[in-house]
Symmetry: C4
Subunit: 258 residues, 4 copies
């Protein structure tokens, strides 16, 4: 539709009709942003994305604004190099850390949604030696691993701790690995993935809840009776299905407030 | 009214007129769900039930939705095997853990209401060795015992920690025992019972409050001056009467927001 | 106005015109109740009173309802034996622990307002050996003493921890003493007094805030640099004046929500 | 414009037209007050100021009211001796601690906005020996130093801990020093500065957030992996730019609620 020059490859472009977004999925993404802000997982920073079900090489994400203010008009389509696809989006301000999303989608075909947040009670677990482990059955997915990405090891001292390049995104995706649902980011927060957007939102929320409860259990003291690996796996399977209940409530509430 | 076949016994069925629910009691149950969600005892999971005062072999409970969104139209009548009574409810999605309620009603004729929740500050007390004990006079009922149900002991490793069968419900009811008002569920939450719905709601709330205050007392350190058994018993009796005051406020507020 | 018999002495009665309440003071008391509920110092229990400026032998207090629902129509006049004065109030349900207020007014002529609450972070300091002491300048009044009333010492084991008789009220007032602004009540909460209603509300709020901050300081560890006695006294004087600022905001906000 | 005598020097006065305030900047300051109150950094006390971009020897600040109730009509212009400039403001009640602002503007030409608050989780770090240090990347500015102002050392025992004179303001500004963004005030709170109002608001908020997360990290235990000095400097630079995102959200939300 547009003939003007662009730094993005022609291959990454399609006609407007192809890039037109599914309104229900856009509403899902708006609801996910607003819900995680209301639940205090996201503050004025952080971002949520969902892989395009019609083209696994693309994902949907808001332009760079605070999550609690995202509306349908803010949702963009990006390719897996985290560049906008639609020429009408040229010049829009993008999240500087969007490479977290694109590089995880490249590395993990099973992942269809990503949440990056400064989850407030998770951050303390990124700067101490205690391992974040599942103790609440809703958080069984933490038993799949909670690797810690230490950016100081990856690229040395003196960064601002942010994932501002495709290479840092690749490093983070590598640390996440093939199985984990959560990668901790030192002094920064976490990135949480799931096979669906409702499940990724569910996991981002219960990662924060489990961190709060683990902190309380540490305060109480003594050995903590964490979930076993077998329990974590079974619970994770159960919660893949159970995510639908809170999601129905959260989505409805978020869209009603628009 | 319906002639179509059903897996439920004919004996558990009655005519529509018999199963018509008391509107005030339905409102009570709606208010109980919404109040405990507002007070952060229930999140998007958990459920509340009340025994039918007209037939002790039945109880009322919402269909499977998030507690904060329950309305009168969602309330169902179940028998003590936790099956729906009214043919018009065939096919409605039921809480998978409803056996908690039915089996407790079978085992405890003195119990007329049950709350199952993931009470957030109670969970840490289910995975540590510290005993949850009453220190706040409103929570004297904790002095009747706070037994811990460890599902791993009951049915072995590898479950999702949920009470999904009548047998697990029976095991849980047995652990609750004849006297306690609360049974802790490892890595999961608790189930709280009472002689009336207002009292069960009151107890579910003050179980959470007492857990928060016990956590703070542990942080302060030194021996904790818990209530004595005699104080717990006297306070429990007083609170059976005093539950009416918060209930009047909570019910009015919950129904006003509908 | 009424000829019917009454257990209250004739002397404690006056004509309706004499007992008619100052509407501004009634609004103050409504605002105090609602503000302390909104600030989570009062939950569904607790009560606030103010001495009648026209007759120091009387005080104003709500009938027995949850503080956040108090309106002008609920305010009653009581004598210092904590009995209603106006015949039209005969038969109204009164707070069972109102003797806290009446007996403190008898013992402390300098006190013109009393707040009794289950202040949530104060309760843990009533069951441990750590002394609640002022560290925040707004809470300098804690330096006047924070005596602990242990009801088990006063009347033995087996009570419900509540102040249900004039004698227990006297015991509590005696423990408060001549100087303190706060008396802690084991396993129950506290009673906070002040020379004016705005100041008593201010003190009830900052007692809770100081408890939270002392709990955090204990968590951080090491010696805590509490206020000295001289600082506490100077700060208390300053806050007697400074109470007016938050009160103006709180009163306006509470009455606007009616 | 006014001929009546005034204790302020004639030099500090200008014509009404000169002192007319920029409406956008006034709105900024209103939004800053309300935002920090909503985020629980400011309670009914505390104040925010911004240097007048048209005259570096003046600053804007509300008259003495609770921050959450500030409107455009409350904003005054003060000179760096913290006296009002406009004769129409004669007799208005000013914040007694306004010297914090004036003296910092004198000492730090790089500072264009100041927030003084009783930041609740910062206070415990002012009475213990643990140093408040940056662990969250948003709070890298804490790496510029978090000196502690101990008023007992500056002027001796027995004060109310408040900065009520120009000399105490100078002492505080001296303790802040040439580099730091935050000066802690023992038993009182902190004063946070920035090159712009959005950045000072951002820093005041993230000082509180970092304090909460450091408290949690202390609870978890073991050595804390704080940001290095190089990381703190780089992050601070990044956040000087990134402050704009939350500010856009916060300002819009605050002004919409007026």
């Amino acid at each position: 539709m547009s003939a003007k020059a662009s730094p993005r490859s022609a291959a990454s472009r399609r006609s407007d009709s192809a890039s037109r977004l599914d309104p229900d999925l856009v509403d899902d993404l708006v609801a996910a942003n607003r819900t995680l802000a209301r639940l205090n997982v996201l503050d004025a920073f952080g971002h949520v994305s969902v892989r395009d079900p019609r083209d696994p090489h693309r994902y949907l994400m808001s332009r760079s604004i605070a999550p609690e203010s995202v509306t349908a008009a803010d949702i963009l389509l990006l390719d897996l190099d985290s560049q906008t696809v639609d020429p009408k989006d040229d010049g829009k301000l993008l999240y500087r850390e969007r490479f977290i999303h694109g590089e995880i989608y490249k590395a993990r075909p099973d992942v269809n949604a990503v949440v990056h947040s400064h989850s407030p009670t998770v951050v303390p677990f990124t700067v101490t030696r205690a391992k974040l482990r599942p103790l609440l059955h809703n958080a069984g997915f933490l038993g799949l691993g909670t690797p810690l990405f230490e950016i100081r090891k990856a690229v040395g001292d003196g960064t601002d701790l942010m994932i501002l390049t495709p290479n840092l995104g690749k490093d983070l995706a590598k640390k996440l690995g093939k199985d984990a649902a959560v990668v901790l980011m030192r002094g920064h927060g976490d990135s949480v993935v799931g096979p669906s957007l409702p499940n990724a939102v569910f996991r981002a929320y219960y990662t924060e809840v489990n961190a709060r409860q683990q902190l309380a259990a540490i305060t109480i003291g003594g050995p903590i009776n964490f979930m076993t690996r077998a329990e974590a796996i079974t619970s994770n399977e159960a919660m893949l299905r159970a995510s639908a209940r809170p999601w129905a409530l959260w989505r409805k509430r978020a869209l009603a407030e628009l």
